[in-house]
Amino acid sequence: MDNEMKGDLKIDGTGSAPGGEYNSVKINGAGRITGDTSCREFRINGSGNVDGNIQMQDGRINGSGTIDGNIKARQLKIIGSAQVRGTISGDSLIVSGSVTIGDNLDVQKVKIEGSAKINHDCNAENFNSDGSFEINGLLNADEINIKLYHLKSRAREIGGGRIHITTGSDAGFNVLKTIFTLGMYNPVLEADSIEGDEIVLENTTAKVVRGTNITVGKGCNIGLVEYKGLFRKTGDAKVGEEKKI
């Protein structure tokens, strides 16, 4: 991108601006951008709306952002809250606040520290979660690392190479945390099916788990396990049926 020719857009109070090509876009107050936009740097510190698709190299949403379209970003950090009507695609997404995605999430690397809601599928090479998520479609990633801390996560289907779902280290009984989360303390993962090459599960409820090597650990409740290589059951895991194929 040729940045020298492009101007900066900055909205400090309340204002709106047309879309287009910018070098940097900063919304510090309440701002609205109308139309498709592309920029190098994108920041929302107050509340921002984009009525259209937006492309950025480096994005950060600190306040609240509503994107009425798709986001394409080399890297995007959502520290506040974001609502995206379409798809987020790009290289890396970090969510420490919360995000709601109306369509798909298609990035190389995802890290969820806060919460994410995805209406369809999530495709990634690396998927990491220390927070909670709800994926209504398929979570498809080569490397899936999910640490369950205090809230329930859900995906309709999970598929990939290596799938590790474990309870976070401080997920044990903790009075303060229980009070803090007002009885919502429920570090579990629910899925209809989980399929992968190497699967390690804890606190997971699933109808079917299929794979090569499968370990089902404490707190699990699995209807059917189908494995090709090794199967291990530890702790108080409940498995309805196990089949070696």
Binding site: N123, N140, A141, D142, E157, G159, G160, G161, R162, D192, S193, E195, G196, D197, K207, V208, R210, G211, T212, G223, L224, E226, I245
Partner: protein, 208 residues
Amino acid sequence: MENDELISKKELLELTNISYGQLYRWKRKGLIPEDWFVRKSSYTGQETFFPRGKVLYRIEKIKNMKEDISLDDLADVFSPALDQIGLRPEEVTQRNIVSGDVMKIYLDFRGSGDLLDFNDILSAYILNKLILSGDIGLDEGRLLLEVLQEGRIAFGTDPSEIFLMRKLGVFSCFTVSPPCRICTDKGVRLIAGISTTTVIEELKCKLV
């Protein structure tokens, strides 16, 4: 094609000797199209099935080709996106994609003939296939080219199918966008049904 037999995911992995990880990777890269994943409910909840013939053929192809080119390049081969290519007619004939005679017919039809884009090559390739197989004659070929040009918008973005038929010796052809079924009267003889996605893949393999 509509009545393609289905194969379950489990059976597919066993038969082709690939792992879940590979299958999901190929799905992510778009090597196996989304609409081939057919979900059906079974006693364990949902099971996924695939159109048997298509998916087995595709996986064989991926397994054979991935030794030579990377997955991302492979994805380009299978994605029906329009290519940014331009070839001179001589190059196309030299590479045995289209025979010299058929290229002449195509150039007559097209008018100017300096650089052929992907759509041009595709049209000529389809024409070449049908004429060489003896399915259609030269005049019928021209008719086909007109239809292909009309239906050009459908190329690349949406998969479509080209049907050629003959009734009482009179030739006719048209394109449709699946999923759809055609129903004809008894006098109609269907000469060929060509899926653009398949020919695009064939052609891309030749162009790589």
